[in-house]
């Protein structure tokens, strides 16, 4: 078998050479071109949920809007990571997410970049933006499934399963640092307080480094908060 086939595509007027099988996001990252993401994580399967990485692709005369984290590179496609429509899509998505978590640092940063108005849509401060990082991490990396999605549509939320969470979460806590809004941690603590107060399994104090550069809220032992 010969060397992996090479693909040449254009991203923001720059010619980029990559190998077949890569996504447009990977190609852009390789070429040093920045595309914002929220639900993406290199240890997890690409999800395509937040749609922030959306880009404009021109291929065989057709223009379409696709999420770069999933769209496969192909010969001769022309990708634009910024355009009037792309920017508008990102702006409105940020505004929609800020209706739930107006102060989340990443959303605030994106709002500034794209001119988003945090007050634009009706507020529903649930704080969860359903990016799925916690659920997917617990499934794909930890294989513990202590937290999952329930319900559908706008009612979709994350839910810690008490029967599982009480045995595994305190020892792990890795999803807390992944959460862009710090909701995962709050959801866990609430579940613990309601479903298994004082019954979590803990062998030693947690010593986990954050998986991403996100700010971690230190977990205070319950006693210390009284």
């Amino acid at each position: 078998m010969s060397a992996m086939s090479e693909i040449i595509l254009t991203i923001d007027d720059k010619e980029v050479k990559v190998t077949a099988g890569m996504t447009v996001l990977q190609a852009a990252q390789q070429a040093g071109i920045y595309i914002p993401t929220l639900c993406h994580h290199e240890k997890l399967e690409a999800f395509g949920g937040c749609r922030l990485c959306i880009v404009e692709v021109e291929s065989r005369g057709w223009t379409s809007y696709v999420v770069s984290c999933l769209y496969p590179v192909a010969k001769d496609i022309v990708v634009r990571t910024r355009s009037e429509k792309v920017d508008k899509i990102r702006k409105v998505i940020v505004e929609e997410l800020m209706a739930h978590a107006p102060d989340a640092p990443e959303l605030v940063r994106l709002a500034e970049e794209y001119g988003a108005d945090r007050e634009r849509f009706e507020r529903k401060e649930s704080f969860c933006i359903v990016c799925g990082l916690c659920v997917r991490y617990c499934d794909e990396v930890k294989h513990l499934n202590a937290v999952g999605f329930i319900d559908n549509g706008a009612k979709r939320e994350i839910s810690f399963i008490p029967e599982v969470a009480k045995n595994v979460c305190w020892e792990c806590q890795e999803c807390f640092a992944l959460c862009p809004t710090s909701y995962a941690q709050a959801a866990y603590l609430l579940t613990e307080a309601l479903a298994f107060p004082g019954q979590r399994k803990e062998l030693s104090p947690p010593a986990k480094a954050p998986e991403s550069g996100r700010r971690v809220i230190p977990i205070m032992p319950v006693a210390a908060t009284r």
């Binding site: 937040c50 959306i54 409105v92 998505i93 209706a99 359903v130 549509g153 706008a154 979709r156």
Partner: protein, 555 residues
């Protein structure tokens, strides 16, 4: 019943069935379609059977329970052959009279069709206005078949197309014929079925699947259920032919969980086909193996989307995948899977029997064949209608549909359910055509056509459709999950007199972004009804804002 092991055996068996049946023997066909069933046609059928037994007329008269005849408005429907005499709104108390008249070759006058304006009567099916403007290539057999009896289907020539495909054509030839016919998907996408078949056939994996999408979640579309309940073998025959062309070994029929009669008929059809050797190993001695199983949705609209449906068959939550991961290449368990709608599969046998050239002689340049339309809303004659593509909407609404009920005037026509659009009355001469209707902003979708009368509040309709979709969204992607409820919130405020300045711009932005950014067709088309309203009924929307905001803030 011993399995039919060859084509010769099948044809001999068919000849025997026909020999035993006397075409001159009168037959009373009682419709057991969903609406007629809901009007207790079962009691009518039971009354006929009881009376025939009581008078020991079994050798003089046949009574048959059939699938949907189509004229749901006037059920319970009864059709008497010979002559295709149509009786409407038949009750158990009418039974003795109908039997007596049938035996004498006479007609029960008070049960036949009467024009509501002129009083003119129409006795035979080809005289009744509702039926006479139709071209019932798919529905026509329904009154002749008891869906529980495969022999009835064989008696009208069923499975002859399969025989032709297996004995006279190679899989590639079958595929080419379907491509030449330009059969386009009837579930809403309008995508050329032949091309989809070809992509699946050419996919490198050896294991391939074919799927019947009988989910029919589109609101006010009820023709697929009628087809599957009324003539399951026609759909199955199309599926087997398709599997042969594509090289698939296994098929899935995916349908709804909430119709006991549909489940009963499909299960029975699959079992009978297997018993006869039309499913299983070495079908009719051709060397072709094919199995088919039944799967159910579990109560959510999004599971009708092709990729979501495949997740559901796998046992996973029905979350759609983006279209650039083509399911014809990677579908169920990542194997090439060809999914088509019930009506699309039902068209296949006739394309093989009569040829692509015949099929392309019907319809318009780019939309061939006939289309099943569920006619409902504020229409006089609601039911299931089959017309050639190119038929003007006016014919559907007025000649067949009988116009608007309660003497009101027509305000709008809606196509495509929650993912379609409404067009005003002045466009009523537009022809039924996939691309033409899409350009007008009211894509045919699955074919659910609703008439809306002068009292219809167009903002309320848009609100209602969004409300439906909000409940049915899977919730995976932000533009749909977040965008739709925000649009709904604004529209709800507008219907309650709380519309405020900036609402229309917010709606327009949300409509645009939800359309471009959503993962699947549910989100992408969720704002289409609203967009059609803005295109044709904007003043109605603007008035809601102006009135409330005291004359300011419109755009």
């Amino acid at each position: 019943m011993t399995k039919l092991q060859s084509v010769a055996e099948l044809e001999k068996f068919r000849a025997e069935i026909l020999f035993r049946r006397d075409p001159a023997k009168p037959c009373i066909a009682v419709c057991a379609g969903a609406a007629c069933d809901g009007m207790d046609s079962a009691a009518v059928a039971a009354a006929f059977l009881a009376e025939v037994a009581r008078q020991t007329l079994g050798d003089k008269l046949e009574v048959r329970t059939t699938g949907c005849h189509g004229y749901c408005e006037k059920g319970p429907n009864v059709v008497v052959t010979p002559g295709e005499i149509c009786y409407f709104e038949v009750q158990p108390t009418d039974v003795a009279e109908v039997i007596a008249a049938t035996l004498k070759g006479e007609v029960v006058d008070r049960l036949v069709y009467k024009d509501p304006n002129t009083g003119a009567k129409a006795v035979h099916m080809n005289e009744v206005p509702f039926y006479k403007h139709q071209m019932r290539l798919l529905m026509g057999d329904n009154p002749k078949i008891d869906p529980m009896l495969i022999d009835d289907y064989l008696a009208v020539g069923g499975y002859a197309a399969l025989v032709k495909a297996l004995t006279e054509m190679t899989p590639q030839q079958v595929l080419d014929e379907v491509k030449k016919a330009n059969l386009r998907g009837r579930g809403g996408g309008g995508f050329p079925a032949g091309s989809k078949w070809e992509t699946t056939r050419n996919a490198p994996e050896k294991t391939k699947y074919v799927i019947v999408n009988g989910h029919e979640g589109e609101s006010a579309a009820f023709m697929d259920r009628a087809m599957l309940t009324g003539n399951p073998h026609k759909v199955l025959e199309g599926l087997i032919i398709g599997a042969y062309a594509i090289g698939a070994q296994r098929g899935f029929m995916y349908t709804r969980h909430d119709m006991p009669l549909l489940e009963k008929h499909v299960r029975n059809a699959l079992a009978q086909a297997k018993e006869y050797g039309l499913l299983g190993e070495n079908i009719l001695g051709s060397g072709f193996d094919f199995e088919c199983e039944l799967h159910f949705d579990v109560g959510i609209f999004v599971s009708g989307e092709s990729s979501a449906l495949m997740r559901s068959i796998e046992g996973n939550p029905p979350e759609p995948r983006p279209k650039y991961i083509r399911t014809s290449v990677s579908g169920i368990w990542d194997k090439p899977s060809n999914l088509n709608n019930v009506e699309t599969w039902a068209n296949v046998p006739q394309i093989i029997s009569k040829g692509a050239e015949w099929f392309t002689s019907i319809g318009t340049e780019k939309s061939k064949g006939t289309k099943l339309i569920s006619l409902s809303g504020n229409v006089v004659n609601s039911g299931i209608v089959e017309v050639p593509m190119g038929t003007p909407l006016r014919t559907l609404a007025f000649d067949i549909g009988g116009g608007v009920r309660d003497g009101k005037t027509l305000k709008a026509i809606h196509f495509g359910g929650a993912m379609g659009g409404s067009i005003p009355t002045d466009l009523i001469d537009a022809p039924l055509d996939f691309d033409g209707m899409s350009k007008l902003g009211a894509p045919i979708g699955a074919g659910g056509l609703l008439l809306m009368d002068e009292d219809t509040d167009m903002i309320e309709v848009a609100r209602y459709l969004l409300d439906f979709l909000v409940n049915e969204s899977c919730g995976k992607c932000a533009p749909c999950r977040e965008g739709m409820p925000q649009m709904l919130h604004i529209l709800t405020n507008m219907t309650q007199g709380k519309g405020k300045a900036g609402d229309l711009e917010r709606l327009e932005d949300l409509a645009e972004v939800t359309g471009l950014g959503s993962l699947c067709a549910l989100g992408k088309t969720s704002a289409d009804p609203l967009k059609s309203m803005f295109r044709y009924f904007k003043p109605e929307y603007e008035a809601r804002i102006v009135n409330i905001a005291g004359g300011s803030g419109t755009k």
